[in-house]
């Protein structure tokens, strides 16, 4: 009894140390927390040009990007999004709690990397999607949300989190 107690007193801290070392060494940006794939929420909204959005336009592989004219960090990720769109990545904007006039003006001024933008002034679709703020991005594959990134989109996150998911889907 005593022997096992002595053993335990030394082994437990060692196990704890090993565990925390492992946790420390996993880099936040590259960690792939299992994301529960879910269906894209149903919605009835127009795009920024006033035309109703058809659910077919969300098919295939699409990047949903939550943005707004009042969002400062969105400007930071904008060049990367433009780069992605020029490389044939379909990006659909989700204009979050914004006015359509200001949103359109923003796109005019900074450029429009989006195929189109869903106009969600009250944030209803965003709420159903689980959006916590702007900017935020989701990966949509065949109408299923398979990936989620909080904060600005950048090269590292794209390559480590979304790209593997896309590649996995394309292999099937």
């Amino acid at each position: 009894m005593n022997q096992s107690l002595r053993f335990l007193i030394v082994i437990l801290p060692i196990l704890i140390l090993i565990f925390f070392t492992r946790v420390l060494l996993i880099d936040e940006d590259t960690q792939l927390a299992t994301f529960e794939a879910k269906n894209f929420p149903t919605f009835e909204l127009d795009d920024l040009n006033g035309r109703p959005v058809q659910s077919e336009s969300l098919g295939g592989i699409k990047l949903i990007n939550v943005w707004a004219s009042w969002c400062i960090t969105c400007l930071v990720e904008h060049p990367f999004l433009t780069e992605l769109s020029e490389n044939n990545v379909g990006i659909i904007g989700l204009n979050y709690k914004d006015s359509d006039t200001k949103a359109n003006a923003w796109l005019q001024k900074h450029g429009n990397p989006y195929l189109f933008s869903i106009y969600d002034p009250r944030g209803d679709l965003a709420f159903d999607l689980g959006v916590t703020g702007a900017p935020e991005s989701y990966l949509l594959i065949n109408n299923k949300v398979v990936g989620h990134i909080q904060g600005e989109m950048n090269q590292i996150k794209w390559e480590n989190i979304f790209l593997p998911l896309i590649q996995k889907a394309q292999q099937r």
Partner: protein
């Protein structure tokens, strides 16, 4: 007042009617300006109110590093509070509300881990630990 409004039979009566209408409009403005002096999150009974404040303290703020939506002023927290309020009024149970939130914001958003699977160890672990220590103490009586 009704008889004056319904039978205008002279110019003075028409004037009186105009004045009455004027005051009706004034009263309307005064009372509607009281319409927003209200208790936000007003419930049908105190049980609902208690449930509300209890629920929002158990739902995690999706945007903050830590903390419940009750203690957060973030826009998404406010939206969540309003939604919880709405759902309570619509008659959803606490579990249904938490389920609703989890579907959208992940299991991360419930500060009360469910009693399932590996969580059994979480909830019962401390008491098992206590029992084991007590047993060792009683058997050894040397510690």
């Amino acid at each position: 007042m009704g008889e004056y409004l319904s039978t205008p039979n002279s110019e003075s009566s028409a004037k009186i009617m105009a004045i009455k209408r004027f005051f009706t409009v004034i009263y309307f403005f005064i009372f509607s300006s009281f319409a927003f002096t209200q208790i936000v999150y007003e419930f049908e009974n105190s049980l609902q109110e208690k449930r509300f404040y209890s629920l929002i303290s158990e739902i995690r703020c999706p945007k903050c590093t830590s903390g419940s939506i009750a203690s957060s002023d973030a826009p998404v927290s406010r939206d969540l509070k309003n939604k919880v309020y709405q759902l309570i009024l619509e008659g959803s149970t606490d579990d249904e509300i938490k389920q609703y939130v989890s579907e959208r914001f992940g299991t991360f958003s419930d500060y009360r881990p469910s009693l399932s699977g590996s969580n059994y160890f979480l909830w019962f672990g401390p008491f098992i630990f206590l029992a084991i220590l007590f047993l060792i103490f009683f058997s050894k009586r040397r510690i």
